[in-house]
């Protein structure tokens, strides 16, 4: 059976295009064809100028994020068979990020926000490597494990209308990672990270739309992480008020 399926792909060639446009391709359909397979088929067999990112093909590298029919998806774990009833499939570059070329997004804004929250173990006093690892029980690990599954694919940023409204918002991925370290029993950097959470661009730009958690391919639930961050920031605000009354301000 040589069934064909129409894939509409967004094109943007910075040298010649003022704005993105749409190009249709016919791809031979099979039951196990992923969007990524379709894009590779187009690039290899039909139009070598098409640009898209991919690497692992197994939802762990996080580089193949695109909008499939207006929803952020990893193209490697999204299958054409699930769109048969909707007719044509439209593939665009991720929402909310600048488009570098075709389906390639510039996610550096997200990466900068990730670095801002210092997503690594912070210790008041580093111990020598020779003294061994910082111990942790399985129960302690369970508290942050889900928030640690992030693969930095950026789908949550494409889904977040508040990041779309204001790219200064640290956003779901970075704030989930901040929470992942704040909840880690080996970490002592929560107070240090608090200043980023406390800001307007921190947890307070979030209005709990919840789409970040719906689109996350790793079930990280950034919306829950951010809103637990709001509770922490709320308590921090009250403590700071109390300290101001006692004549000590953390400014």
């Amino acid at each position: 059976m040589t069934d064909k399926v129409t894939v509409r792909v967004q094109r943007y060639r910075p040298e010649e295009d003022a704005a993105p446009w749409e190009q249709s391709f016919e791809v031979p359909y099979s039951e196990d064809l992923s969007i990524l397979d379709a894009l590779n088929q187009i690039k290899d067999q039909q139009d070598p100028t098409l640009s898209h990112r991919w690497s692992c093909r197994m939802a762990i590298c996080g580089s193949c994020g695109v909008m499939v029919n207006n929803e952020p998806k990893l193209s490697c774990k999204t299958f054409l068979r699930d769109y048969r009833e909707q007719g044509a499939v439209t593939v665009r570059a991720l929402d909310n990020f600048p488009i570098e070329r075709d389906l390639v997004s510039d996610i550096s804004g997200f990466i900068d926000h990730l670095e801002t929250v210092q997503p690594w173990l912070i210790r008041e006093q580093e111990t020598a490597v020779s003294e061994g690892a910082y111990p942790q029980t399985p129960e302690q690990m369970q508290r942050y494990a889900a928030f640690g599954q992030c693969i930095n694919c950026g789908l949550c940023y494409a889904a977040c209308p508040q990041f779309g409204r204001d790219p200064a918002f640290l956003g779901p991925g970075a704030l989930a990672l901040a929470q992942r370290y704040n909840l880690d029993s080996r970490d002592q950097g929560a107070a240090q990270r608090m200043q980023w959470l406390n800001a307007e661009e921190g947890v307070w730009s979030c209005t709990f739309v919840g789409s970040c958690s719906e689109v996350c391919p790793k079930d990280v639930d950034p919306a829950a992480a951010i809103n637990r961050g709001k509770v922490a920031s709320d308590i921090n605000y009250a403590v700071n008020l109390f300290n101001i009354l006692r004549g000590k301000d953390d400014a």
Binding site: Y12, E15, G210, S211, N227, R228
Partner: protein, 135 residues
């Protein structure tokens, strides 16, 4: 040469998918509920002006416009309650060494509490007003 195309959010972004529309509907519950608070305030104000003014306000509540407002406020309050309690377990996380409560239990407890309080309030009002009416 780089020339990234910057995508700007359109004002009608929330019409683009059902999840965003549900979010906007949730936020829009604030409109009838805000008007309802103003209605309660007007009742309180009429009460301060004396019995006749308050009883006139009570009669005013029978008007179709205010019944429509009540209907919208009721729908908004119900939608608000359901969506609010669905999010509670994401914020109220009880997970310490001493006490651990599953998110499903937190949600069920809130649902049960909300149903009890709402039904209790209505029942209390019915009983008190029947008693006050002397029948």
């Amino acid at each position: 040469m780089r020339k990234p195309y910057v995508q700007r959010q359109r004002a009608d972004w929330w019409l683009r998918n059902p999840a965003y529309r549900r979010y906007m509907l949730r936020e829009a519950t604030a409109l009838p509920l805000f008007l309802y608070s103003l209605l309660l305030m007007s009742g309180l104000y009429q009460f301060t002006r004396g019995e006749a003014a308050f009883l006139a306000w009570l009669e005013l509540l029978r008007s179709p416009w205010l019944l429509a407002l009540h209907g919208m406020a009721l729908a908004a309050a119900l939608y608000h309650a359901v969506t609010w309690i669905a999010l509670v377990p994401k914020i109220l996380v009880i997970d310490s060494d001493r006490l651990r409560v599953s998110p499903a239990t937190v949600k069920r407890a809130h649902q049960l509490g909300a149903v009890t309080c709402n039904a209790g309030l209505l029942l209390l009002a019915l009983l008190l007003l029947r008693a006050a009416g002397g029948n």
